[in-house]
C-alpha cells in the first residue's frame, strides 16, 4: 500500500471497473442491493475481484457502495458485518497484488435545503461505514458517485474524524459538465483540495470523451493527483447492461484524459475486466503527462465558484451593527428578511456575501447555524463567515456548503492558534487582519510584517497562500489623518511583495465625516489601483458597483466588456418613469399593487398620523378590499400577492417609526410538517398574514412535531398554522396537532394544503381548515379578537 501511494501522481495506476454491472450480467435484478451478496454469495464477489486483479487492477473497491444504515435497513444484514466481510473478500482476492479501498457511495437521500437529511446526520451515517471499514483493514477510502458537494463534504468529514486512511474523492458529472445539483468542477476541485483529500477524481454518468472538459477544469484547479473512472459510454436502450463503447474504444477515449494529466484510470458502469485490460495495455510504460495547474484563489458554494482573479465585491449588509431591522430579524428568525437582504446585494453587484451576526443577546453559533442554510437556500453566491468566536466559527464552517472565506484571523498568537486550525480542517480561505498584541500598527511596514507572520503561520499549518487574503485595516481619516495613506501603502506592499489577495472594509474610511458616500467611492478607487481585490462594501450605494465594473474594464480584467455593457448599455438604462406629480394614497397604491407609491404615501401619512393608525385605517382596509375581490373571483392570487408586496413596502416605512414591541395583530407560528418539503402555499399564507400585521414565526419545512411543540411553548403561541401537500405527510400533521393539544389545549391550530378537506381537517383535530390565504386571515383575526 505504502509503495503504491508513493507512486501516486508519479506513475500510472490502474483502478478497477464496475461491480454492479458484472453482478447484473450474472442475474442480479435491477433495484436490488449487491452489498448483501457479500454475505449470501461471497464467492461471486470474490470472483469479480479476482478477474480485475488478473486484468491489472492495482486498487480494488470493496462491495460496499450502498452499504449504509439507510439503504441496508430493509435487508436485515448488519452494516459492520457487510463491510467487514466485503473488505476480507477483497483482501483474499487481491492476494497482495492490489490495495483494498473501502468503497463509499451516496446515502440515497438529499441533504437540506433540497431534501430533509441534515448535515450532521449525514456525517453520522458515513461514520459507521468508515469505522467498520478501517477496523476491517481497508488500505484507503474511496468515496464515489457523489453529485452533491455538501454530501461529499459530509463523507470526507466523517473520514477525517474517524480514520487516518488516505481518501480518494470522486464526483459524478452529467453531460453538461456539472453535477445534477449544479456543482461545477472548479468548485469540487477547490473544496476537495482544501479539505486535504489524497486524490480527486470523476466517475460514472458519462464516457471518457464527454468528461474531457470536466477533467480539464479539475486538473487545472488542483495540485492533487487526479483519477478517472468513466462509464463505458452511454447505455444502449435495447439492453441496460450494454454500453456503446467496446473495451478498445474505451481505452482509446481514455487517451484524452491521459493527455490532461490524469494519473489513475479505471471504469464504472458498463465496464468489465476486459476494459481494464485494454486500458492497461494502452498505458503501461507511459510517463504521466504534464499538467497546466493554475495558481488561483477560489471560493465556492455547492454550485458556484468565484475565482478571485479580479476585483470582486463582498456585500457587507448582513451585519447587525447599526441596523435595527436586521437585529430584529436575527432575534425573530425572520428568514424572509435575511434572504431579501442577501438577494438585494447580489442583484446590486456583490459576488460574495459577508455574514456577521455578532450582537448582544443572541447565541452566535446557533444563529449562524440557521442563517447560513437560509441564505444558501436562495443563492449560490459564496459566503464570508465573519466571526471571531471559535465555537461559532467551527459550527458555521461545518455546516457551510462549499468553501467559504473566514473573516478573520489576526497576528495575535491566540488568534493564530485557535482560528487557523479550524480554517484548515474545513478547507476554507481566511482573511488576515494586520493587527497583533500591540494593536493596529501605525506604519505600513509594521502592518506588512504582521501580514508576513500570518502568511507564514498559515503555510506552516498547511493552508495554501492562495487561500490567505490580507486586510490592511481601514481607519477613519477623521481620527487618523494618515489613515488612508498608511492603508494604501501597506496594501501595495502586500500585493507586490507577498503576491496575496487583499481585503478592505472600505466604508470605515469616512466614519464621522460628511459626504461619506463620495469619500468612500474615492477611497475604493484608490485602493483598487493600489491592489485591493476584495472590497467589503454596500453594493446598493450609488456608484459602488459602477466603480468596480468600470475599474475592471479599464484594467482589462473584463476583456470582452460584457459586464460593463450589461450594466451601462442602452437597454439597462431605460427606466420606467412615473409621473412624479401623480400621487396616490396608500389604499389606492396597495389596491393597484404599486410598492413605490405605497411607500411614498405611507411616508406622507406619517406626518399627520401615527403608524398604527396608518395600518388600521389605510393598509388593512386596502388589503380587505383586495381580499374581497379575490373571494369574488375579480382578482387572482398573483394580483393579491402583488398587493401584499405593495403593503409590505408601506409597512417597511412604518416599521422604522414603530417600537419593536408595539402593535402587532398577534403572533402566529407556521410550518410545513415533518417529511414534506413543499412550502410555496405556506409562504404565500405567511406573506398575506404578515401584511395584516401578524407577527409570523416561520419554522420552514420538514419540521418535527417535537420542534413545533417546543417552539409553541417557548414563544407562548396561541395560533399555529400547519401545511402539508402529500397524503403521506398527513399523519405527521395529525401527530403534530395531537402533540400541540396535549401540551396546550388553548392553542388553536389551522391547517391547509392541496390534499386537505374540511372534513379531514376536523377528523385530525384541527380547529380550522383554511382553504386559501384569505380565509386564513379571517380566522386569525377571529382568534385574536376572541382572546
Amino acid at each position: 500500500m505504502a509503495s503504491l501511494l508513493a507512486t501516486l501522481g508519479k506513475e500510472v495506476i490502474f483502478l478497477d471497473g464496475a461491480m454492479g454491472t458484472m453482478l447484473q450480467r450474472n442475474g442480479l435484478k435491477l433495484g436490488k442491493h449487491p452489498e448483501s451478496m457479500s454475505i449470501t454469495h461471497p464467492g461471486a464477489i470474490e470472483a469479480v475481484h479476482r478477474s480485475y486483479v488478473e486484468a491489472g487492477s492495482q486498487i480494488l473497491l470493496t462491495n460496499t457502495f450502498g452499504a449504509n444504515r439507510k439503504k441496508l435497513s430493509a435487508t436485515g444484514h448488519e452494516l459492520s458485518k457487510i463491510v467487514s466481510q466485503s473488505v476480507q473478500i477483497a483482501k483474499t482476492a487481491s492476494q497482495g497484488f492490489a490495495c483494498v479501498a473501502l468503497d463509499i457511495g451516496p446515502i440515497g437521500e438529499s441533504l437540506v435545503p433540497i431534501g430533509t437529511l441534515g448535515f450532521d446526520e449525514c456525517v453520522d451515517i458515513y461514520k459507521d461505514v468508515v469505522i467498520a471499514g478501517t477496523k476491517a483493514g481497508a488500505d484507503l477510502i474511496f468515496i464515489e458517485t457523489i453529485f452533491d458537494l455538501y454530501e461529499m463534504k459530509a463523507a470526507i468529514t466523517a473520514c477525517k474524524e474517524n480514520s487516518d486512511l488516505p481518501i480518494f474523492a470522486s464526483m459524478t458529472f452529467a453531460e453538461d459538465g456539472r453535477t445534477f445539483l449544479g456543482c461545477p468542477p472548479s468548485a469540487a476541485a477547490a473544496l476537495l483540495t482544501g479539505l486535504g483529500v489524497t486524490a480527486i477524481g470523476v466517475n460514472c454518468s458519462v464516457g471518457p470523451k464527454t468528461l474531457v472538459p470536466v477533467i480539464k477544469e479539475i486538473t487545472q484547479n488542483t495540485p492533487l493527483p487526479v483519477f478517472a473512472k468513466p462509464n463505458a459510454g452511454m447505455p444502449r436502450l435495447d439492453s441496460p447492461n450494454n454500453y456503446d463503447l467496446s473495451p478498445r474504444e474505451f481505452a482509446a477515449e481514455m487517451m484524452n484524459l491521459y493527455e490532461l494529466g490524469v494519473c489513475a484510470f479505471g471504469g464504472c458502469c458498463g465496464t468489465s475486466p476486459e476494459y481494464i485490460s485494454a486500458v492497461k495495455e494502452r498505458f503501461t510504460g507511459r510517463k504521466l503527462a504534464s499538467r497546466n495547474i493554475k495558481q488561483t484563489s477560489v471560493v465556492c458554494s455547492g454550485s458556484k465558484s468565484v475565482v478571485i482573479d479580479s476585483v470582486r465585491i463582498i456585500g457587507e449588509r448582513i451585519n447587525p451593527t447599526g441596523k435595527k431591522l436586521l437585529k430584529e430579524a436575527l432575534v425573530s428568525r425572520d428568514t424572509g428578511y435575511i434572504q431579501h437582504q442577501a438577494l438585494s446585494q447580489l442583484d446590486a453587484g456583490a459576488e460574495i456575501l459577508d455574514v456577521n451576526v455578532g450582537m448582544p443577546g443572541i447565541d452566535e453559533a446557533e444563529t449562524l447555524e440557521w442563517i447560513i442554510p437560509t441564505i444558501q437556500a436562495v443563492t449560490d453566491a459564496p459566503l464570508q463567515i465573519d466571526t471571531t468566536n471559535p465555537k461559532a466559527l467551527e459550527r458555521a464552517l461545518r455546516i457551510y456548503n462549499g468553501k467559504p472565506i473566514v473573516n478573520s484571523v489576526n497576528g495575535e498568537e491566540k488568534s493564530i492558534s485557535t482560528v487557523l486550525p479550524i480554517v484548515k480542517k474545513y478547507g476554507a480561505s481566511v482573511v488576515g487582519l494586520t493587527l497583533d498584541e500591540r494593536g493596529i500598527p501605525k506604519t505600513a511596514v509594521s502592518r506588512f510584517e504582521v501580514a508576513q507572520k500570518i502568511l507564514k503561520s498559515a503555510k506552516e499549518i498547511g493552508i495554501s497562500e492562495n487561500d490567505v487574503f490580507i486586510d490592511c485595516l481601514t481607519l477613519t481619516v477623521s481620527a487618523e489623518p494618515d489613515g488612508a495613506v498608511v492603508t494604501l501603502d501597506a496594501l501595495a506592499m502586500v500585493k507586490e511583495k507577498l503576491e496575496l489577495k487583499t481585503v478592505l472594509g472600505v466604508s470605515n474610511i469616512s466614519f464621522g465625516l460628511p459626504n461619506r458616500e463620495f469619500l468612500n467611492l474615492m477611497f475604493l478607487t484608490m485602493a483598487m489601483e493600489r491592489g485591493l481585490t476584495l472590497p467589503i462594501v454596500n453594493p446598493n450605494i450609488n456608484g459602488v458597483t459602477d466603480a468596480v465594473v468600470s475599474y475592471r474594464l479599464l484594467k482589462r480584467e473584463d476583456k470582452n466588456p460584457d459586464r460593463y455593457i450589461e450594466r451601462f448599455g442602452e437597454e439597462s438604462s431605460v427606466r420606467l418613469r412615473k409621473d412624479p406629480n401623480k400621487k396616490l394614497d396608500v389604499k389606492t397604491a396597495i389596491i393597484r399593487a404599486l410598492p413605490q407609491e405605497a411607500a411614498t404615501a405611507a411616508e406622507e401619512l406619517l406626518k399627520t398620523e401615527k403608524p398604527l393608525d396608518v395600518i388600521n385605517s389605510h393598509i388593512i382596509p386596502a388589503l380587505d378590499e383586495v381580499g374581497e375581490r379575490f373571494e369574488q373571483g375579480k382578482v387572482y392570487l398573483p394580483q393579491m400577492l402583488q398587493s401584499s408586496e405593495a403593503a409590505k413596502a408601506a409597512f417597511k416605512v412604518l416599521k422604522k417609526h414603530m417600537d419593536a414591541k408595539s402593535g402587532g395583530a398577534g403572533r402566529i407560528l407556521i410550518a410545513t410538517v415533518k417529511g414534506d418539503i413543499h412550502d410555496i402555499g405556506k409562504n404565500i399564507v405567511k406573506v398575506i398574514l404578515e401584511n395584516y400585521g401578524f407577527e409570523m414565526i416561520d419554522m420552514g419545512r420538514d419540521v418535527s412535531s417535537e420542534d413545533i411543540v417546543a417552539k409553541m411553548k417557548s414563544e407562548n403561541i396561541r395560533l399555529v398554522g400547519l401545511s402539508a401537500l402529500m397524503t403521506t405527510t398527513l399523519p405527521s400533521m395529525k401527530a403534530t396537532i395531537k402533540a400541540l393539544k396535549a401540551e396546550s389545549p388553548y392553542c388553536k391550530v389551522f391547517v391547509g394544503g392541496a390534499v386537505l378537506t374540511k372534513e379531514y381537517a376536523e377528523k385530525i383535530g384541527a380547529d380550522f381548515y383554511a382553504k386559501d390565504a384569505k380565509t386564513a386571515v379571517d380566522y386569525a383575526k377571529k382568534v385574536f379578537t376572541d382572546l
Binding site: K29, L30, G31, K32, P106, G108, E109, S110, P113, I114, G115, T116, T145, F147, T172, A174, T179, F180, L181, G182, C204, S205, L237, P240, S303, G336, Q339, H340, A342, L343, S344, D347, A377, V378, T379, D380, L637, P638, Q639, L641, Q642, S644, E645, G675, D676, I677, H678, I680, N683, I684, V687, M726, T727, T728, T729, S732
Partner: protein, 178 residues
C-alpha cells in the same frame, strides 16, 4: 432531464411483474392488454427549485409566477415523454400511470426510483414519505400494447369524485365543472 427504460411485463393472478425486477404492480385493468411498458422519471432539476425559492424571496408574486411556469414545463415534459415512448414503441400506448394516481399507491415511487436508479441517472431522490426531490419531478409507467388501445377515462373508475373530474359520454371526455 429524463430517463426512460423499457421492460417486459409478466401478468399474474396477484398483479403484474416488471421483468428483471422484484416490483409487482397491483391489478391495473388497462395494463392487462400490454406486454411491455416504459418506466420513466423526469425532472426540471434542482436548479428550478433554487430559482423558485430565490424568486419567492425577492417577490412572492414572482415566485408564484415562476412556480406556475415550472409546473407548465413539467406538463410539457410529460407530453414529450409520451410522444417519445409512442415513437420508440412502434405500437400503441396507454395513458401514464403514476404513483399516487387512482391506480397505483404512492409507495411505488420508491420502486421506480430504485429500478431506474434515478439518483445516478437524473439526480432524483425519494424520501421515507415518498416525496420526490427535486420537487418538479414526475415518474410513471406507460403500458405498450400491440393492439389498438381505448384510453380509459380514469375518472370513470376513480373512487374520489372530486370537482375536477371528467366524464366520458359518446366517446367525448369533458370536465364535470364545465
Amino acid at each position: 432531464m429524463k430517463f426512460i427504460h423499457y421492460f417486459e411485463l409478466d401478468h399474474k393472478e396477484d398483479g403484474t411483474g416488471i421483468a428483471g425486477t422484484d416490483t409487482v404492480l397491483p391489478y391495473i385493468k388497462p395494463l392487462q392488454a400490454c406486454l411491455r411498458c416504459a418506466v420513466f422519471a423526469a425532472t426540471l432539476g434542482h436548479g428550478a427549485d433554487t430559482e423558485i425559492r430565490s424568486a419567492f424571496a425577492r417577490s412572492p408574486s414572482s415566485g408564484l409566477a415562476l412556480d406556475t411556469a415550472a409546473n407548465r414545463n413539467l406538463f410539457e415534459l410529460h407530453r414529450k415523454i409520451e410522444e417519445e415512448v409512442l415513437a420508440a414503441s412502434g405500437a400503441y400506448i396507454m395513458s401514464v400511470i403514476s404513483p399516487g394516481s387512482c391506480y397505483l399507491d404512492i409507495s411505488y415511487q420508491k420502486d421506480i426510483v430504485s429500478i431506474l436508479n434515478t439518483i445516478h441517472t437524473t439526480g432524483i431522490f425519494v424520501n421515507d414519505y415518498c416525496v420526490l426531490t427535486p420537487s418538479k419531478t414526475i415518474t410513471g409507467i406507460i403500458g405498450i400494447s400491440e393492439t389498438p388501445v381505448v384510453k380509459e377515462n380514469q375518472c370513470d373508475t376513480c373512487t374520489h369524485k372530486c370537482e375536477y373530474g371528467r366524464s366520458t359520454k359518446n366517446g367525448i371526455t369533458v370536465s364535470n365543472s364545465w
